[in-house]
Symmetry: C2
Subunit: 288 residues, 2 copies
């Protein structure tokens, strides 16, 4: 049974789960587990690992339109090299500080494979859920897509420095806060744009008609060998940690002005079906 099916099976037991964060008394909380073999390619520095692991949880806080307050991490490794551990903590602390939150420590655990579990907390009196989109609205995405796919290509080519820099994405917490007075539904694109649109469509009982050009990072074109591969890396690969959101068409201009990063209108909310340039957009992407 894969993770999506297992999560669906748990829905009865956990009625409040299923969004980017759980909401408890005006507070949002989210947790993620990452491990070396699938999440940290050869060449990932421990500073980058700390930044990225904590950043992944902060991205879920951002997706609720919440202010980030704090994060913790449990760090499992075969040994505790002080330089590696210190670098990890520096990365974790710096990514928290970049969004106005505080990294407050965690746990150490002897573990065969380098494994990190992070938890982030935030506050939002009126969090943005995945379920609020309505037909006729616009659908938008922050920043650019395909950077994690690009980073993996750079790791493969031995450009470790460039790859690490791309891997240290900026969690969109400030953008999420700016969007909360405009957005009707929101989530992060950690599973890829295509799958995120399908998840939003299911939660909001709607569809999406998306049109190219998508805001795919221009450097992705340099590593992709065809337009198809460019789309694969930009829309399906995932792990971009951008925000995908919906809002009334009339709100797009003000939202774009308020958001401290690019905000691209990529299409409209429809009654049903998810399409790209009129063709069905498959529901596939990154499975964590």
């Amino acid at each position: 049974m894969d993770e999506r099916t297992a999560l669906a099976e748990l829905a009865d037991r956990l009625p409040d789960a299923g969004d980017d964060c759980a909401v408890v008394d005006g507070q949002v909380v989210t947790t993620d587990m990452l491990h070396e073999r699938t999440d940290f390619p050869d060449g990932t520095s421990r500073y980058t690992a700390g930044w990225r692991a904590v950043g992944a949880s902060l991205s879920d806080v951002a997706a609720m339109g919440a202010d980030a307050t704090a994060a913790v991490a449990a760090y499992g490794a075969p040994s505790f090299d002080p330089d590696e551990l210190g670098a990890f903590v520096d990365g974790a602390r710096d990514v928290c500080e970049s969004v106005g939150g505080e990294y407050v420590g965690g746990d150490l655990d002897n573990h065969d494979e380098f494994t990190v579990a992070t938890t982030a907390l935030g506050t939002a009196s009126d969090p943005i859920l995945r379920s609020g989109a309505s037909p006729g609205e616009a659908v938008c995405v922050t920043g650019t897509l395909g950077r994690s796919a690009l980073a993996l290509a750079l790791f493969d080519r031995g450009d470790t420095e460039g790859a690490n820099a791309l891997f240290r994405f900026q969690p969109r917490v400030r953008a999420g806060v700016a969007l909360r007075s405009h957005a009707s539904a929101m989530m992060d694109s950690s599973d890829g744009l295509a799958r995120s649109l399908h998840q939003l469509a299911e939660a909001s009982d709607c569809g999406f008609a998306v049109e190219e050009p998508l805001p795919i990072d221009e450097r992705v074109g340099a590593v992709a060998e065809s337009d198809e591969e460019r789309l694969e890396l930009g829309a399906f690969f995932g792990e971009d940690f951008e925000l995908v959101c919906t809002m009334p068409e009339a709100a797009v201009s003000a939202a774009r002005e308020a958001t401290p990063c690019p905000l691209h209108r990529i299409g409209t909310v429809t009654e049903r079906g998810v399409t790209l340039d009129g063709e069905a957009l498959p529901d596939r992407g990154y499975s964590h």
Copy 2:
């Protein structure tokens, strides 16, 4: 480098860490990673694993004298059997409900070894730290000691049901809340009574003179082959998740009355040194 040395190395980077929980804006937060080989012996049911993993974090919340609000868990396993996963979630939910908190879900991750990372949250306007003990006060412990050591002996003997029942300890959240108007310092005994006393002594710059009899579970006598082994299992083995706290002698009687579980006075706070019946009590115990 072991976990304790590594944590000491991190002290400069994380000045707010080092207690059972971190404190952020009147909220307490703690995280723990547990894994199959060291934390869940053969025979541990997934219901017990969910209870115990989330319970370990709730015990840290208890140690701050905080009310428990919520917990999350990241669940890593080679496959997601719906019965196992459901049982885990039931255990996690039930232990939260037993202390008035809410289990709000988490993350699933494909992982070779069954690994769980839990985070618990609580609120306390004036949390009890490890650093408040003063010479002349009494030192007390809740409940009984040695139950996890006893559980391991039962797992070894094939009494899986008895062992699982002992493994599902009651996190002392309600006791911690009752103690917060009395206790000057508090922590949980997850590393064993001996090591906990040394940690309290270091944080409070004091010592302890402890006297037998210690409140060691009477069933421990049945599996221990000598008085020495009984003390080993009761005071050093750890993983008991009881509260160790200090308070003025005059407060002990009222604290005992307010606490919804047994509270045993085991000795007094001194200027320095940790002793049991006048002999030095070694600083050793469970290393997580």
